[in-house]
């Protein structure tokens, strides 16, 4: 099955992800910012959202805590809202126990009741992004990374 999550890497220090949702923008943003709704989808099938705190305003913080299904491993990530608009949300994102913080710029475009979400994850430098890409976050995104994929496959 092909992924519905489309990934491009044209900008040196960014990763762009696009996903379309069959719902109006207002509902998509609601489901992405209301804790009670977030808890129902954010963990997918492999993790339970143990807690979701969202202070959805400029300067407000959010934090999501998870527990994986089965192994019951805990992990969490969070950040701060920098911009809160009707069609554009900007927030920072940092994982507990993992260095660095990225800036996530999300725009929502609605057309005929369908919302296209465009996610820009901006890293501190191209080097940081390339580390992420080189290790397979966007499989097949660039030829130069194919070598590394082969390398991993050969082991």
């Amino acid at each position: 099955m092909t992924s519905k999550l489309h990934v491009t890497t044209d900008v040196p220090n960014e990763i762009h992800m696009t996903r379309t949702f069959d719902a109006p923008r207002r509902l998509v943003i609601r489901a992405m910012t209301e804790p009670a709704l977030l808890k129902r989808w954010l963990g997918g099938k492999r993790a339970t959202v143990v807690s979701a705190e969202v202070d959805f305003r400029v300067g407000g913080r959010y934090r999501y805590e998870f527990e994986t299904v089965g192994k019951r491993e805990r992990f969490a990530f969070g950040g701060e809202f920098r911009e809160v608009g009707e069609d554009r949300i900007v927030h920072t994102e940092a994982f507990d126990g993992h260095p660095g913080e990225s800036l996530v710029i999300t725009t929502y475009t609605e057309r005929d009741g369908v919302t296209t979400m465009h996610h820009v994850i901006r890293f501190e430098s191209q080097a940081v992004r390339d580390m992420v890409l080189a290790t397979g976050m966007a499989n097949g995104a660039g030829e130069s990374y194919d070598v590394l994929e082969q390398l991993l496959a050969s082991q």
Binding site: S3, W41, K45, H98, A134, V147, L148, L152
Partner: protein, 119 residues
């Protein structure tokens, strides 16, 4: 998702992978063990320059150096690389799966909206 000790090891691996020359060295080593001299040739770099890169890779645990006298062949050690790959892959899959679940939540929200309208 990542334990404290894992995070430190990942840092070293990430830093080592940030450089294109070092990635190319790893790709070359994936084909088999080579000496520093053999490694230096295709990169148009001096042996000391290559040695510097090898030290970074060695510290990150990505390669090991043989004890074969002068030759000291370099060998790929892929375990740290697999750790990084696993971490990132988990991250990507995490979002794919979550968005699929979000589709279901949105369907439900739309249904309850339609019901409200009918009332």
């Amino acid at each position: 998702m990542v334990l404290e000790a894992d995070a430190e090891r990942l840092d070293a691996t990430f830093a080592a992978l940030a450089d294109p020359t070092r990635r190319a060295i790893l790709a070359r080593l994936a084909k088999g063990d080579v000496s520093v001299m053999e490694l230096a040739e295709p990169f148009a770099m001096t042996q000391p320059a290559i040695s510097k890169h090898l030290k970074v890779l060695e510290r990150a645990g990505l390669i090991t150096r043989g004890r074969d006298g002068q030759r000291r062949p370099c060998r790929l050690a892929a375990a740290p690389l697999r750790d990084v790959d696993r971490w990132i892959d988990r991250y990507r899959r995490f979002w794919e799966e979550s968005y699929d679940a979000l589709d279901e939540v949105l369907e439900e929200l739309k249904r309850s909206k339609r019901k409200e309208k009918r009332r």
